[in-house]
């Protein structure tokens, strides 16, 4: 088991280094920070000087080495545009995105799983058909469309919820939270909903199809043959087995939530990392983009690690044999 965790960690490190490399590689080619820093009226010698100062004249791998060493320390330099430490900018923005993604994830799971279970167990009923149709709509509607429509209806026409921003936040150390005020929650509703809808439908469809698979297995049939109650079969046996594969996929999806937040944040002016990233892309703010990418993959890796550990907790087959599952 230790070996299992270690191996996952090792893989995580490899993934991270690869991501860092890609990030670094890509940003070598996006825009030219020198032009941006010096403005348009730079003379060639100034440009050369700045290149030297920034270390942009060094061999590729030396640059990458520096990048890695700094990245490990969370150090991505200063934002080219904002002149502030990237790590601080991200740290400021992280709570907003995290809280948004968290609420969206909880929404997606808390609504998606029961809906999926229902749709699987009551296949063919009107309600489950309706769920399926809705879920289709959910995957067919682009997120930004949902966001715009929600604002139009609930903020402008009905005036129930605010249309932008995080509202009042409280400071807990370096963490700002909107969870402690009513205003914060009100502001969270529309963006979280927007972000959750797509994931929700995915979770629902996934749970449904996995559940249907599990319901066809021999051990469910055998459980029926033993005369267990439907409750015990569906929620004791089937659901737990369903959740094993669902876990992996939702894990991946949750990582995706953070990235999908780009669009939601854009629409709702949610002061999170996604908004920062989009701005950074517009202005070729390389350090921010690099740091964002690395952070995203770190989150992804962490989530995956957690999912793996959950696996260990849920599936006894992995616990003892440790190594490869079957």
């Amino acid at each position: 088991m230790l070996a299992f965790i270690l191996r996952r960690l090792l893989q995580a490190v490899i993934v991270m280094v690869a991501v860092a490399f890609i990030a670094f590689l890509l940003f070598q080619y996006v825009g030219d920070p020198v032009v941006f820093l010096l403005g348009q009226d730079a003379r060639p010698d100034q440009i050369r000087q700045l290149r030297a100062d920034l270390g942009l004249d060094q061999p590729f791998f030396v640059q990458f080495g520096h990048f890695l060493v700094n990245a490990v320390q969370g150090e991505f330099g200063l934002s080219l545009r904002q002149g502030a430490k990237v790590s601080r900018l991200l740290a400021e923005r992280f709570p907003a995105t995290f809280e948004l993604a968290l609420v969206a994830a909880v929404l997606a799971l808390a609504i998606g799983i029961p809906m999926g279970v229902y749709a699987a167990l009551r296949r063919g009923t009107f309600l489950s058909q309706a769920f399926m149709m809705l879920s289709l709509l959910g995957v067919s509607l682009p997120t930004f469309l949902i966001g715009i429509l929600l604002i139009l209806v609930f903020a402008v026409m009905l005036g129930w919820f605010p249309s932008f921003g995080r509202g009042e936040t409280m400071q807990l150390g370096w963490w700002t939270t909107g969870f402690l005020t009513r205003d914060g929650w009100m502001h969270l509703v529309l963006p979280a909903l927007t972000l959750a809808i797509f994931q929700l439908t995915l979770v629902m469809r996934l749970v449904r199809s996995e559940m249907l698979e599990v319901l066809r297995t021999d051990y469910i049939k055998f459980a029926r043959a033993r005369g267990l109650s439907d409750r015990a079969i569906h929620f004791g046996h089937a659901l737990k087995n369903t959740l094993v594969p669902v876990m992996t996929i939702t894990g991946l999806q949750l990582g995706g939530l953070i990235a999908f937040a780009i669009i939601t944040e854009q629409v709702f002016q949610w002061p999170g990392m996604g908004l920062l990233f989009i701005d950074a892309v517009k202005f070729a703010d390389i350090p921010i983009m690099a740091a964002y990418l690395c952070l995203i993959s770190l989150i992804f890796v962490v989530i995956n690690l957690v999912v793996d550990l959950l696996y260990l907790a849920v599936d006894p087959r992995l616990r003892l044999s440790g190594a490869r599952g079957h």
Partner: protein, 303 residues
């Protein structure tokens, strides 16, 4: 042709198709969209990509049935005076083309990688799957943004059409992973089957086995994935257009149209937004439905 069609209609899939009204409706819608898109040049009342035919003063006319509407423009016009109905067809053509081509591309790459990983195994498999992990940690939108950015930076002078290439590439970049994983899984299963061993005993070369034996047997899940991904790709393209890294504005896709339209949502010109949105949802939904149906139809356990 007629016979193969008849045979298809008679086959299991054909049967499950005939008995699924949802699939039929979806197919009709999808086919309608594809038809209008493909033959937009002939079907559409105007050619919105031909700037000479546009009349700026006709901009933002409401649909024909409203009082200010003009009969010339059934669904009204957009902010450049383009006929919405025509631009829908042309836009759908771009969206569909981007969707189809990018799915095709990711399919080819993904299937090749998946086959290789599944069939060869060992460190090749390990390496390719780690690669997939890396790709997975970049969500599609993100990669698309990056590639779009890089593409523009690398080829700043490329003609407009390169934007399509960039879009397609960026959507494919994340798309292939799913194929690779699915195909790898199926390949590992197929590889162990006795018919593959029989071919090996006969002395058939591994590549040939992969190509002739294994590949046809993993097409089912690939097909299902593909349909669903077409929808995803169309939506991704729309989202990218929304974020401002889509196709050129003179040749708008559905996504570009929606983004443009959303600017006018508040000012009462709802039709600029509504019809493209409806079309996008219709296309995505019908393709999704087809994919769902195909998944069930190809699942032997559900037959």
């Amino acid at each position: 042709m007629k016979r193969t069609l008849a045979r298809w209609f008679d086959s299991d899939i054909g049967y499950s198709f005939r008995t699924s009204p949802v699939a039929m409706v979806a197919a009709v819608i999808a086919f309608g969209c594809v038809f209008c898109a493909t033959f937009a040049n002939w079907v559409a009342p105007h050619n919105p990509f031909d700037l000479t035919t546009l009349v700026l003063s006709d901009a933002r006319l409401p649909p024909a049935w409203s009082p200010e509407g003009s009969a010339r423009y059934l669904l009204g016009t957009d902010d450049q005076g383009r006929d919405i109905l025509s631009v829908l067809m042309f836009g759908a053509r771009i969206s569909l083309a981007v969707g189809l081509v990018s799915v095709l591309l990711s399919m080819v790459v993904g299937v090749a990688v998946g086959l290789l990983a599944g069939f060869v195994g060992g460190w090749v498999d390990g390496f390719l799957m780690r690669l997939c992990d890396v790709m997975l940690s970049f969500p599609a939108i993100l990669v698309a943004l990056l590639i779009a950015g890089v593409g523009r930076a690398l080829f700043p002078n490329a003609p407009n059409t390169v934007a399509f290439g960039v879009l397609i590439l960026s959507i494919s970049m994340t798309g292939w992973v799913q194929y690779a994983r699915t195909v790898r899984g199926s390949t590992m299963v197929e590889r162990g089957k006795e018919y593959v061993q029989a071919a090996r005993v006969t002395g058939v070369a591994p590549m040939r086995i992969m190509w002739r034996h294994v590949l046809p047997n993993v097409t089912g899940p690939v097909l299902v994935l593909a349909t669903i991904q077409v929808a995803t790709a169309i939506i991704t393209e729309a989202t990218l257009s929304f974020l401002g890294v889509g196709v050129p504005p003179t040749q708008p896709s559905l996504g570009t149209l929606i983004r443009v339209g959303s600017d006018y949502l508040g000012s009462g010109e709802w039709w600029i937004f509504f019809f493209p949105g409806l079309m996008l949802v219709l296309v995505a939904m019908s393709v999704n439905l087809l994919g769902d149906w195909l998944r069930d139809a190809l699942n032997p356990r559900l037959q």
